[in-house]
Symmetry: C2
DNA sequence: CCGAGTCAGTTGCGTTTAGCAACTGACTGC
DNA sequence: GCAGTCAGTTGCTAAACGCAACTGACTCGG
């Protein structure tokens, strides 16, 4: 997928360049849920086969997903998240919460719970110094160590 | 923008249907950073004018962004996040962190800090009962109250 | 008051990407 | 040996994107 407008030097742009197309995050959502096989993914998502082939290949190249054989004769593979793929979990959680908040009139269609105790989970941005949650209006952005060049002033 | 494959009954799909195209999240990133005017957005993103017009209109329709006049003669508007738009902050933070983790070799290009104390922020999924952070492998998903119908078994 | 400049679009056109349907191929199981 | 499943591939059409040129409402400098 398309070389996104890759604003090098922005991690959001870098992430979207990797997984920011119409299907990839939905494929990953299914992988998190345990849907791992081509045909299952296809019918669950309603994606066409050629695109699914394409997106999975790309995810494998990016090492977000790996192919694991689950039978020989005929050889068939399933797709599993790598550590890099599993690290997308917070992003999917955040996207889900926004959908829950603004589009789920009767409450969330899916709850995320702690496996050991079954309690519904929280997600928060917080300040390790102040030990409190931080809302969007209290987040500032600053150039970090990985910034190459021209630090323009316009912060949040 | 395109009517995404809207798997109704999945908040991730609902969110992606709203903001999951090639440009929208980058536009929102800029709005969070304080870039608010058409021409600024255009040149910062390198997006073509027609698409920017289109995306902004859609964001206004969805009430993620609103148009505020900043001068008359000629009348000019800037685009600002609504509360709904501001609620996307955690999602952008999560996408940014993944990019930082996997693509920022020299450290993050941008740091998010607490406005009052300047401390770099954390984001975590946590269990309110156990009072501890919860990694991807300990998250289970369950049908929630907003689920309409056929609860298929395949959980995470 | 005329021409250059700015900002915010709109229009038109060619290229890319996506979506659909039909086909292949390696099997299993009856 | 024929139907069925799974995982693709190929070919064609439709939708989305990207670029460049044009419009329009102004301001400002001379």
């Amino acid at each position: 997928m398309p070389d996104q407008p890759v604003d090098e030097g922005c991690s959001i742009a870098a992430t979207l360049a990797a997984v920011g197309d119409r299907w990839t995050l939905l494929i990953l959502r299914d992988l998190f849920r345990g849907v791992r096989r081509f045909e299952q993914l296809r019918s669950d998502l309603g994606i066409s086969r050629n695109l699914l082939t394409d997106r999975l290949q790309r995810l494998v190249e990016l090492e977000i997903v790996h192919r694991v054989p689950y039978q020989d004769r005929p050889i068939r593979h399933e797709y599993r998240l790598t550590a890099k793929g599993a690290d997308l979990s917070p992003a999917l959680v955040a996207l889900m919460r926004w959908g829950d908040l603004w589009y789920a009139v009767d409450g969330p269609p899916t709850l995320l719970v702690h496996d050991t105790c079954g309690t519904p989970l929280d997600q928060a941005v917080s300040c390790p110094a102040c030990h409190e949650p931080v809302g969007a209006q209290h987040i500032r952005s600053r150039p970090g160590p990985g910034r190459m060049t021209e630090t323009t002033g316009a912060d949040r």
